[in-house]
């Protein structure tokens, strides 16, 4: 374990000179170097660069609210150094000539970026098993997946290779792996954080957010990465509030919504259910009122998501054609169309190809109205559902995922089974609202697995969501548990 493994403790320790940024960074890099082979959290790192950045903090040249804190970046977020692969063969050697806006923001705040983390190819998946390079293991049980698509970021923090990480969330890709790995993970309101430099999967759903051990850590990172960006037309103009200032202040007369339709969802693990019930009781004991709310179009969420996201993906991924950049087939081709199809067939994995085909089909003339337009109509209805629900409550509480981390290989044979893992998380992206996953329990047994609860709020309610999450965290100890890791021994 790192001596200081949370964002705020590391920042404060560096600030107080209890440890130097170089020492902290060296420890993080050593853990990546020596122990990440089997965990598979990282795709790449630049140790020399990280150490230079850390030394600059120690020398007082780099300051800020994250000065000296080791942070990992999901490998679909562009950095002007190293590669940005999206865990795809297509971009295996892609070097972006620019930093994503969030990367700039982190480094301007003094953070030390230690490396880039594994993901499901182009962020399409819920287990990080779709990476073209390697699978990532769950630090709590190496036979299990860390969740996805930000599984590398989740595992990196949980296995103490950094204090915090950035993920991206299109249908639950931050919250679900956070819940699988015992972390706090937040998807901000659509437009709160700039998408510039995030390799697009589904542009109207994608959002970058923080993953870390505590609510405070996430609030701190969110403080740094939020705000308007002229380079992203969909980023909101209003200034972001300070998410730290009132974090410890509980919400008065808090009303927590429990969704009627969620009770009917099949396949929810009984241990998850009881952890959620306990969390509800905890909030009641803190003075919250529990109200039942209705989201009548919940059933259509997954269907709408698996139309909208592939449609946008089919268009966003059209540029990978072997002509300008990315993988190009080395086989002989007779014409340009063959160059396109061979390069794409070789460069994209099966899940990415599946979604491109679904999206291309759904956008085709004659099908557009039946699929894409219908999905957009459902999107409107889902937004309305949330608007209505948030008239009656401040936040909505649910499991983040129906189950704790599942075993590697368990769901890979059946894509539809894998899609259902997102049942509690996708509507949040469809509606553009913020959501956070917070540790709320562990399964029983020899290898206890973390359980996460999800809190959803209206657009731009991040400050309140974080405070509600903090109320729970402040009176529980789930966020203090760490996986016992002996990777060499536990992997057969």
């Amino acid at each position: 374990m790192l001596l200081y493994d949370t964002v705020i403790s590391a920042r404060d320790a560096v600030r107080a000179k209890d440890i130097s940024a170089v020492e902290l960074t060296r420890a993080a890099l050593a853990r990546i170097e020596e122990q990440d082979q089997l965990l598979g959290a990282f795709n790449s790192k630049d140790s020399a660069r990280a150490l230079i950045q850390a030394k600059a903090v120690d020398d007082g040249e780099r300051t800020g609210p994250l000065a000296g804190v080791p942070i990992a970046i999901k490998d679909n977020i562009c950095t002007s150094w190293g590669t940005t692969t999206c865990s795809s063969k297509m971009l295996e050697n892609f070097r972006a000539p620019y930093d994503a806006t969030v990367v700039r923001a982190l480094e301007d705040a003094g953070a030390v970026i230690v490396g880039k983390t594994n993901l499901d190819e182009f962020a399409m998946g819920s287990s990080t098993e779709n990476s073209a390079f390697k699978i990532t293991r769950n630090p709590w049980d190496q036979k299990r997946v860390p969740g996805g698509s930000s599984g590398g970021s989740a595992a990196a923090v949980a296995a103490s290779r950094c204090c915090g990480a950035l993920g991206s969330d299109t249908g639950g890709s931050i919250r679900q792996p956070a819940s699988f790995c015992g972390l706090v993970g937040m998807k901000p309101t659509y437009g709160r954080v700039s998408r510039y430099g995030l390799v697009a999967f589904a542009s109207s759903l994608d959002q970058i957010g923080p993953m870390a051990w505590t609510v405070g850590d996430c609030a701190q990172v969110l403080n740094v990465i939020s705000g308007h960006d002229r380079k992203d037309s969909t980023s909101v103009r209003d200034a972001a509030p300070d998410y730290i200032a009132n974090l410890e202040k509980p919400i008065d007369r808090l009303r927590i919504g429990v969704v009627k339709e969620f009770q009917a969802i099949a396949g929810v693990d009984p241990q998850v259910k009881s952890a959620i019930d306990a969390a509800i009781k905890k909030y009641q004991s803190l003075g919250a009122e529990i109200v039942e709310v209705s989201l009548p179009h919940t059933d259509y969420g997954i269907a709408a998501y698996y139309i909208i996201a592939p449609c946008e993906a089919s268009s966003n991924l059209a540029r990978y054609d072997g002509v300008h950049f990315g993988h190009r087939t080395s086989e002989q081709v007779n014409d340009i169309v063959e160059l396109f199809s061979k390069s794409r067939a070789e460069g994209f994995g099966p899940e990415v190809q599946r979604r491109i085909m679904i999206g291309t089909y759904a956008l085709s003339s004659g099908y557009y109205d039946a699929y894409y337009n219908r999905a957009l109509q459902i999107r409107t209805l889902i937004r309305r559902d949330f608007d209505e629900a948030f008239r009656q409550c401040d936040v909505i509480l649910s499991p983040t995922s129906p189950t704790p981390a599942f075993k590697a290989g368990e769901k890979t044979a059946d894509p539809l089974q894998m899609y259902l893992v997102d049942v509690f998380t996708v509507t949040c992206n469809i509606a553009g609202i913020p959501g956070i996953s917070v540790p709320c329990g562990f399964t029983s047994g020899a290898n206890p697995l973390p359980i996460g609860m999800q809190l959803l709020g209206p657009v731009f309610s991040e400050e309140k969501l974080l405070r509600v999450a903090r109320m729970f965290e402040a009176t529980t100890d789930f966020h203090k548990r760490r996986p016992v890791m002996d990777i060499q021994a536990s992997v057969e």
Partner: protein, 493 residues
């Protein structure tokens, strides 16, 4: 085989016109625009957004939207209060993202109608279907620069992302001449508005006429040929010739074979002076349009629109008409003054000083134009104030200087600004209009030329000329008009 007789035919031509807008930066990024940088080093006007690199996002160029709305207003189009951006998908190497950001069902400019003035002075209404804004594609080249053969294709992406306004008309053109007239009027319009340089040879404007013919045969039966589109015509002459050729080709195909042809795309081959078949258009290509999620819709409010209307102001055609009807200028004069906004504005500023419209126009088109040619600049750049031109006109109208003296005053004004009255005085150009002095000179001339006086009185009108010449010679700067008037009166008394 029945003989096919053409009793009459009706030509229907519509046009798609692509206009590259001369904004500083490209449509969706701050990268320098290719339109005003013609001939730049290949692939020098690119950035990560133009290249479509992963993670990049488009940001709308507001100026391009404003330029488009101005053209829309000039074409009498309805300006959409709400419009949006769509992705048009097709795979081609000159399109880095393999989709083009365009506008599908909600274009910036909707239906409109435009009064086209034809050569004989009559007007014809051309209905506009729509005008939408999009990004241009790059160029895929199959020869190396200089025409050298290569075994692969090369790309120049300078043009990629250039703001491109696509104007679509209804099939209202009936002759190739009308098509050409519209193209030229549109060029004048975009140049007048300052939204495009409109240089055909630089590809700033590209025309695509779509053509078909309704043929009435000997029995009065109507045969409609299939619509063909001629791609990428970039000179007015070619536009007119290609349209004319294609009309005849369709008619002759019907006469010779009875075939009405098929919906197809044609090209123009300059060397043979003929259109040639490119590909059929039986099946509309599926572009899988959908709203671009990276961009926000464009909402045009009243305040913005009225500001743009003000910027458009009076259009060249309206101005020309007004100059002819209200100011009495000839068609050539009106065109010369109205087609360029700065020239027209200069002219009108001069008129505000209350001198004869015709006189001011004459001065500008003679001396003004001469100086502009000498200095290779526009009227407003000469440095001569509009009111000075008005003052010169007044001096001539009041007979204070001769019309022929105006050139000298203009030349002097180029050196320094001063009231033309003073300049004329200093140069000794002021005419003597003092009747006492004139009468004295007349008396002297009559006394000195008794033969001429006798001739005139005997009925020889020509004698008046030699007498006038004698008067004018006797003193400098006499007002010739007054001299002649008073001389005639004297001799007739």
């Amino acid at each position: 085989m029945p003989e096919r007789v053409v009793q009459s035919y009706r030509v229907l031509v519509g046009m798609e016109i692509h206009v590259q807008l001369a904004t500083k930066s490209k449509m969706f990024t701050g990268c320098a625009n290719a339109a005003p940088n013609f001939g730049a080093e290949p692939n020098s006007l690119v950035d990560e957004q133009v290249l479509g690199l992963p993670g990049t996002l488009p940001v709308m160029n507001k100026k391009a939207v404003e330029y488009s709305i101005q053209v829309g207003l000039a074409l009498g189009c309805q300006i959409a209060k709400h419009s949006k951006w769509d992705r048009k998908s097709y795979y081609y190497p000159d399109l880095p993202k393999n989709y083009q950001i365009s506008q599908y069902d909600l274009p910036l400019c909707g239906e409109g109608s435009f009064e086209l003035t034809l050569e004989d002075g009559s007007t014809k209404t051309i209905r506009i279907r729509r005008a939408h804004l999009e990004e241009d594609a790059g160029k895929l080249l199959h020869d190396a620069p200089g025409g050298f053969k290569i075994d692969h294709s090369i790309l120049d992406l300078n043009r990629a992302g250039t703001p491109l306004l696509e104007i679509v008309t209804e099939p209202d053109f009936e002759t190739p001449e009308q098509v050409r007239a519209f193209g030229q009027e549109l060029q004048r319009l975009v140049q007048f508005l300052g939204v495009s340089e409109g240089q055909m040879q630089m590809g700033h404007m590209r025309f695509e006429p779509n053509i078909n013919v309704h043929i009435t045969d000997g029995d009065g039966k109507v045969h409609k040929t299939a619509i063909t589109e001629i791609k990428n015509l970039n000179s007015f002459s070619v536009l007119e010739r290609a349209t004319a050729y294609e009309i005849q080709r369709q008619i002759h195909e019907w006469i010779e074979t009875g075939s009405l042809g098929q919906k197809a795309t044609y090209g123009w081959d300059e060397s043979s002076g003929a259109t040639f078949f490119q590909r059929p258009k039986e099946k509309e290509q599926d572009y899988r349009y959908f709203p671009d999620p990276d961009l926000v819709p464009v909402d045009v409010d009243e305040a913005w629109l009225s500001e743009l209307k003000n910027q458009v102001g009076e259009l060249p055609a309206t101005r020309r008409k007004r100059y002819m009807t209200a100011l009495g200028l000839s068609e050539a004069e009106a065109a010369a003054l109205a087609n360029d906004r700065a020239t027209g504005d200069f002219y009108e500023k001069a008129l505000r000083h209350g001198s004869s419209a015709k006189r001011v126009a004459n001065l500008l088109l003679s001396h003004g134009r001469r100086l502009c040619n000498e200095k290779d600049c526009t009227l407003s750049e000469l440095g001569i104030l509009p009111e000075r031109v008005a003052e010169i006109a007044s001096l001539i109208d009041q007979n204070k200087i001769a019309a022929s003296a105006a050139g000298a005053v203009f030349d002097k004004l180029m050196e320094e600004d001063a009231p033309p009255d003073d300049i004329a005085k200093a140069l000794g150009l002021l005419q003597v209009s003092d009747t006492g002095a004139i009468d004295a000179a007349i008396e002297a001339a009559i006394a000195a030329n008794p033969k001429a006086v006798a001739d005139f009185k005997g009925g020889k009108q020509a004698a008046l000329g030699s007498l006038t010449g004698a008067v004018m010679k006797s003193a400098k700067g006499l007002n010739p008009k007054l001299v002649q008037e008073r001389l005639r009166a004297k001799l007739s008394s």
